[in-house]
């Protein structure tokens, strides 16, 4: 597939063309922060952002979605959101998270609702131009990304290097009439951005190779850190909600006023929330805050990795660190504490 170069002013024009013919979501300012939102003007696109408030998972697994409609006493009818769209400005760590979600939603039992949205998406990733306050992607090996996207943009000063990695990506880039094949200097500049980000997206430094985390956790189950940290856990689930790899959900029915028809919806849930494991009859399996706090860290560092070939399900976006009011959610702080106490190896 092709690697091109496009001047920034021509890129704006290219995005305008896209907006005119496709449903486009892109990163925009939201107050003094950033978030993904429907893009109405190319001028609003902010590829110089540090981190978005919400990860892009909402485009594939929305906070709430209708799975099916039904008729009381009659049948159930699947409902799909199948309008194609372009997602502009996904950072590498978020792209890695999407790749992991793709695997989790397609393996064993194929989730047609998630995958329909995913297959309808054209993802334009972009390398990080400005590190956020809490990013630790360098520690997690997610500062750069090599797969999953359709196009990858890298800001090299006055222009972007755009690599189309799929046919969808090629098709999208075909509209960039002023793009030219990337020259050696541009490719070198891109290498330099990658090299810088591989080290520089590291506001919290993990003291081990992420591949070691499952082994670390294997001996940490009864460590006091869970109790210590969870003591001030609100069980507010903010860490779950902002996490690009949290995908647990709840399912609920709602009827229409005719009391005959209705819909079954799924909505984001969170393993930190009180009641997450409560069964009818009131027994709750992870009743203690510490149990729930530990479960999240284990899911990211051990349980989910078992399902996706060892990849660590924390991509170092730092959103949970920022979202946690009592400052206990930082996975690096937890892992480093365990390394300090239990050593490596």
């Amino acid at each position: 597939m092709s690697v091109k170069k496009i001047a920034k002013k021509d890129f704006v024009e290219f995005v305008e063309t896209l907006i005119r013919k496709e449903r486009v979501f892109g990163v925009q300012a939201k107050g003094d922060r950033f978030d993904f939102a429907p893009l109405e003007s190319a001028q609003d696109l902010r590829l110089d952002y540090d981190v978005t408030l919400q990860p892009p998972k909402k485009f594939f697994q929305p906070p709430a979605e209708v799975l099916m409609t039904f008729e009381v006493g009659g049948g159930y009818q699947s409902q799909y959101d199948d309008e194609p769209f372009v997602l502009l400005g996904v950072h590498p760590y978020d792209m890695v998270a999407i790749n992991q979600m793709d695997e989790l939603f397609s393996q064993d039992n194929y989730d047609t609702h998630y995958m329909t949205r995913r297959n309808n998406a054209t993802i334009v990733a972009c390398d990080v131009a400005k590190p956020s306050e809490n990013v630790f992607a360098s520690s997690m090996g997610t500062a750069v990304v090599k797969s999953g996207y359709d196009v990858l943009l890298t800001d090299i000063g006055d222009s972007y290097v755009c690599e189309a990695a799929t046919e969808k990506g090629e098709k999208l880039m075909a509209a960039a009439k002023k793009a030219v094949p990337a020259d050696d200097a541009a490719l070198k500049s891109r290498e330099a951005v990658w090299a810088k980000n591989k080290k520089g997206l590291n506001r919290h430094e993990l003291k081990c190779d992420p591949a070691y985390l499952p082994k670390l956790l294997a001996k940490a189950y009864k460590h006091p850190v869970w109790e210590e940290r969870a003591k001030t856990c609100f069980s507010c689930g903010s860490c779950n909600q902002v996490c690009p790899t949290c995908y647990c959900f709840n399912v609920q029915d709602d009827v229409n006023w005719d009391m005959k028809t209705g819909k079954r919806e799924r909505a984001w849930d969170g393993c930190l929330l009180d009641g997450f494991t409560k069964v009818a009859g009131e027994h709750e399996f992870r009743k203690q805050r510490a149990d729930r706090f530990r479960h999240r860290i284990y899911r990211k560092g051990m349980y989910v990795p078992e399902k996706i070939g060892g990849q660590i399900a924390c991509v170092g976006c730092g959103r949970c660190v920022a979202a946690c009011l009592p400052d206990i959610a930082n996975p690096v702080a937890v892992y480093n504490r365990l390394i300090d106490d239990l050593g490596i190896g």
Binding site: F105, N109, Y247, V251, D253
Partner: protein, 279 residues
């Protein structure tokens, strides 16, 4: 829906089934026999279904009948939440939604062949166990000695009393029953189900032991089986969790790294060593 998804089935979509028979077993339990409206329904003892009542929701229920018995499949539902309450209002001819059978953790129907089989049931633990009990009895020659232990809290909560009485009458089954808080109608063993374990006549050490009951029961039963030197590989436990999606996605039923709905609900005890949250 996109092209590639169009060829795949919606894993969350229930199919319609009809209530063939329904009756109250006691104040809290209702018996239902169901048949799928479309096509056959093949399952292995230990598997469960997600039962949908439109507008109310979905609940996981383990199948209580044996696949050796024809004419649909049976559920026994305890009234505890919205869905189970709604199921209690269903009668013959009513429709409901079914997804399943689900769960790869089934009873060891083949592995137990030629061995003594011991069922230890607490309360409604009898409901899922009954599927395998009847499977064993319908293939009686394939299995060794059969022992069924049933512990119930109160007399009026006893389930399948006719069936239990029939098992009791058989020469090739040892049926032991106890009640924790008996009244004057009860003339037999008193206390919790673990009290029955020393009364098992067949050899326990080499037996396949199947346990199902309320969460609190497992610890005590396992302690007793430990004393009787039953190897952990031979013990199977039916674990209850909040199974919401039933297909390994939603995360509610996770015990450490294991999804109960996928790898359970029946687990080999030795496999639980890496699952500290299990018991």
């Amino acid at each position: 829906m996109c092209q590639c998804c169009a060829e795949k089935k919606d894993i969350y979509l229930p199919e319609l089934a009809t209530v063939m028979d329904a009756k109250a077993m006691n104040v809290t339990e209702r018996y239902l026999r169901l048949a799928m409206d479309d096509g056959p329904f093949d399952f292995v003892p230990g598997q469960f279904v997600e039962v949908s009542v439109a507008g109310i929701g979905e609940a996981p229920i383990t199948i209580s009948s044996s696949p050796t018995q024809n004419g649909g499949f049976e559920l026994v539902v305890r009234k505890v939440g919205n869905v189970t309450k709604a199921i209690h209002n269903l009668n013959k001819g009513d429709k409901l939604g079914i997804r399943g059978p689900l769960g790869d953790g089934m009873y060891p129907v083949d592995e137990a062949k030629g061995k003594n089989v011991v069922f230890i049931c607490g309360g409604i633990g009898l409901v899922p166990q009954r599927s395998f009990v009847n499977y064993v009895l319908d293939n009686r020659d394939d299995y060794g000695e059969v022992t069924i232990l049933q512990g119930t809290k109160e007399y009026d909560q006893r389930l399948f009393t006719d069936e239990v009485a029939a098992w009791d009458k058989r020469d090739d089954v040892q049926m032991l029953e106890t009640i924790d808080l008996p009244d004057k109608r009860w003339k037999s063993n008193v206390g919790v189900v673990t009290k029955l374990i020393p009364m098992i006549k067949s050899e326990l050490k080499s037996a396949v032991v199947l346990v199902c009951g309320p969460p609190v029961m497992y610890k005590f039963v396992l302690m007793s089986l430990e004393e009787h030197e039953v190897p952990h590989e031979n013990i199977f436990l039916n674990l209850e969790r909040k199974m919401k999606c039933g297909v390994g996605k939603c995360g509610h039923c996770q015990i450490n790294s294991t999804y109960t709905c996928m790898d359970g609900p029946v687990f080999r005890y030795s496999d639980l060593a890496t699952m500290p949250e299990a018991i």
